[in-house]
Symmetry: C2
């Protein structure tokens, strides 16, 4: 009987979490990780801060080397090795190695698919011009940094006001570039509306970013194969020697599709709580797969680093045969982003999402102070609470100069516990003048109307 083999496709957050967790469970298991690029084990979320210059070298984002995994954990890493085809029935993956176009096969007893997500690059005229970037993988950051170094751009356009777009606006301003964000919708961070959206836009403009909402980019125009202008539907043209497209990502599921794995309605690989796919012995984890949204009860696609790592742990444990099986509890949709001096965070459903899910949803907004009124350097926190007709909390959004990215987690905890807003309003929360007012913004935002 040959030794059991765990094969992992994808060498970033979910894939390596799976490999490491499998190793903890099964000290003797053969574990192999295939990575398409030449980089593994890095924090892609740090890319904007390398580009801004806050983090001085790209290599700081690398957590561990292939040697670390091989020598410390007996995990084999194959770089520049692209999985081309999975044959679940034959327990086989066909790969291509980028260097020599060499074709190879890897056998597996269990497979963990962690192919992640890819940045969407719309097929607009001129998208192939030099200076037009997406930012997703370490190599994207490397190319962008090299381009800045060589070409010394001074005007930047960012397409899309999602979190990558907002972080890149800060990075480009830190570089001193004239910076414009063009967003086709009237929202930022895809779901942030109302006064919270306005607060973010004010912050961007206050920091010298031109913000254009409700305009679609239709073409990139260049000269000598280099980007020069970004043109919108209304005919406006914005000068740019560098462009970052941050309009979103899509799950990288091509290989899963051709293998016949079930794809969910979200477009990502369908998985259960044990991170199993529709094929026996094939697990999936991270940005390529769906997960349970605990508020809506639906399986959704919500590609973020924290659930990716935790799904990886579950997939790895189960691929290594853990009994009883590990289970991923699902998400409540928590997310935070720094936008210059603002903290912006959300959890649960937005008002529009709650309506779309069929909830009889209401929304309230509150503005209150982050610290005791007499304590210096406090800030106003703007909170939006979404709840159903029984008072059940459905979601929260917060914007402020401090204390937001941590406070949102209290609402996330309340969503996990399926609480009503009146229950959140009873929470006994920490008070000290430097950290909070006597009655915390979390309590203010959930108070009954009679208080």
């Amino acid at each position: 009987m040959s030794k059991e083999q765990l094969l992992v496709i994808g060498g970033v957050a979910a894939g390596l979490a799976a490999a490491m967790q499998a190793r903890r469970m099964a000290p003797d298991l053969d574990i192999t990780v295939l990575e398409k690029t030449s980089d593994i084990s890095y924090g892609a979320c740090g890319l904007p801060y390398v580009i801004s210059g806050l983090i001085p070298q790209l290599e700081r984002l690398v957590i561990h080397t292939p040697e670390y995994f091989r020598e410390q954990h007996n995990i084999q890493i194959h770089l520049n090795t692209e999985a081309l085809e999975i044959l679940p029935a034959r327990s086989l993956v066909r790969v291509r190695t980028a260097t020599g176009e060499e074709k190879r096969e890897f056998h597996f007893t269990n497979l963990v698919l962690a192919t992640g997500a890819a940045a969407i690059c719309p097929p607009l005229q001129g998208h192939e011009l030099a200076g037009v970037f997406v930012l997703r993988q370490l190599r994207d950051g490397r190319r962008l940094l090299a381009f800045i170094e060589q070409e010394r751009p001074h005007a930047a356009v960012i397409v899309g006001a999602g979190y990558i777009g907002l972080e890149m606006a800060e990075a480009f301003r830190a570089r001193g570039f004239d910076t414009t964000i063009i967003e086709s919708s009237d929202k930022v961070m895809s779901a942030l509306g109302g006064r919270l959206r306005d607060r973010v836009v004010e912050e961007l403009r206050g920091q010298g970013v031109e913000v254009i909402l409700g305009e679609k980019v239709v073409a990139f125009e260049g000269a000598e194969n280099r980007i020069a202008r970004v043109v919108t539907e209304s005919g406006r043209a914005f000068e740019a020697q560098i462009v970052v497209i941050g309009i979103g990502v899509r799950p990288a599921v091509e290989i899963a599709k051709t293998a016949g794995l079930e794809i969910g309605v979200s477009g990502a690989v369908a998985t259960d709580a044990m991170q199993r796919t529709s094929a026996v012995n094939v697990f999936a984890a991270g940005d390529c797969c769906e997960t349970l949204h605990r508020v809506s009860g639906r399986r959704v696609w919500f590609p973020l680093a924290q659930p990716a790592v935790r799904q990886g742990w579950v997939a790895g444990a189960n691929a290594a045969g853990l009994t009883p099986a590990a289970r991923f509890a699902g998400i409540v949709g928590t997310n935070a982003v720094k936008v210059f001096d603002l903290e912006v965070a959300r959890t649960g459903l937005s008002f529009e999402e709650a309506q779309a899910e069929g909830f009889d949803a209401s929304v309230t907004e509150d503005e209150s102070a982050s610290r005791a009124g007499y304590y210096p350097d406090g800030a106003k926190i703007l909170t939006r609470i979404i709840y159903d007709k029984n008072g059940r909390l459905l979601g929260a959004q917060m914007v402020g100069r401090e204390g937001v990215a941590q406070r949102i987690n209290v609402y996330a905890a309340a969503l996990h516990a399926n609480l009503k807003i009146e229950e959140v309003n009873r929470f006994d929360l920490a008070y000290a003048p430097p950290f909070a007012p006597t009655i915390d913004p979390i309590l203010r935002a959930t108070r009954p109307n009679d208080e």
Copy 2:
């Protein structure tokens, strides 16, 4: 039939919260507040920051004037008016006014007792010397500031390492005083032990504070009626031209006792969830009364500003006849304090408290990063988790340079929802490199042993 009269004894947090809430419920109610001192409506928690100089004037701590309450809310405030005796059966309070020793009576339909707590000043030799202070009320701060101004002390001793002691250490160092804390136990903040205690002591010493644990102060020695030295049981003498005693507070219940109101085992006024005392038509709120601890299920005395205000709201609403009656949900024991550059926070029961309450308690400690590893200026957060044999969360304590005072609230939320630590470990928490690592310290501290 004469008009209904609400009488409130005590013009700070709980008392004024009660008066204001009663006004919201009953626009025509006669509302009168009696305040023993000449100050009302101030944030006593800000006193250390006035003494440090961070807040430039003591008056900044005052929220509203008596005129504001009278003119804007038709609430009558009597300053320098000390309630001497409550006669519940006669619906009468006898008072003395400080200025003219005038005696008066106030009738009430409903009474709210909000007499607060008093700083404990041990009857040690020399405690009456000039330069020996407690710090509880605005007038304490006023005297202390005047003393510093006149006497220009350069060496300070703080008796007690509770939160007032720790905050005053920072204030005195900001003034440039040689500062010594003498604490009789081996703990700080009364319940903080283990590595967390050590971290706080390190911070104090790193900031130039001499910290003496496990020594009892036995005498204050002076010259010309001024403090000069603090002497401990072991015979050591510490030079001091100013002393702050911060060994704790006791509920101000003398008037409640003589009125025959039931006093709980904690020594504070016994109240139910509606903030009713044992006497019909007498409510109590704030630091003079007990409250439900949701983790132990016991009624405890936990004198802090946030529950005080909320109890005041409940007492005021019910005294004004709200139906159905308002109820105070109780506390879970959340508290935070800034100690120089450290944030220190706790919620729930400490390990020792859990044992004393009869829980089969365990404790784990974890240290992890406040931000993504590659992001600048992160800090280590030290977390202590207390849980019972079924894995139910009983308490948490945290120490770190950032992100502690807000994170503790996530554990507080979990205590409110009566969750197990494995449920906390499933929380979907916000991640972004400037604010948290991919797996938040909250998750790290609650992870199963196999991760």
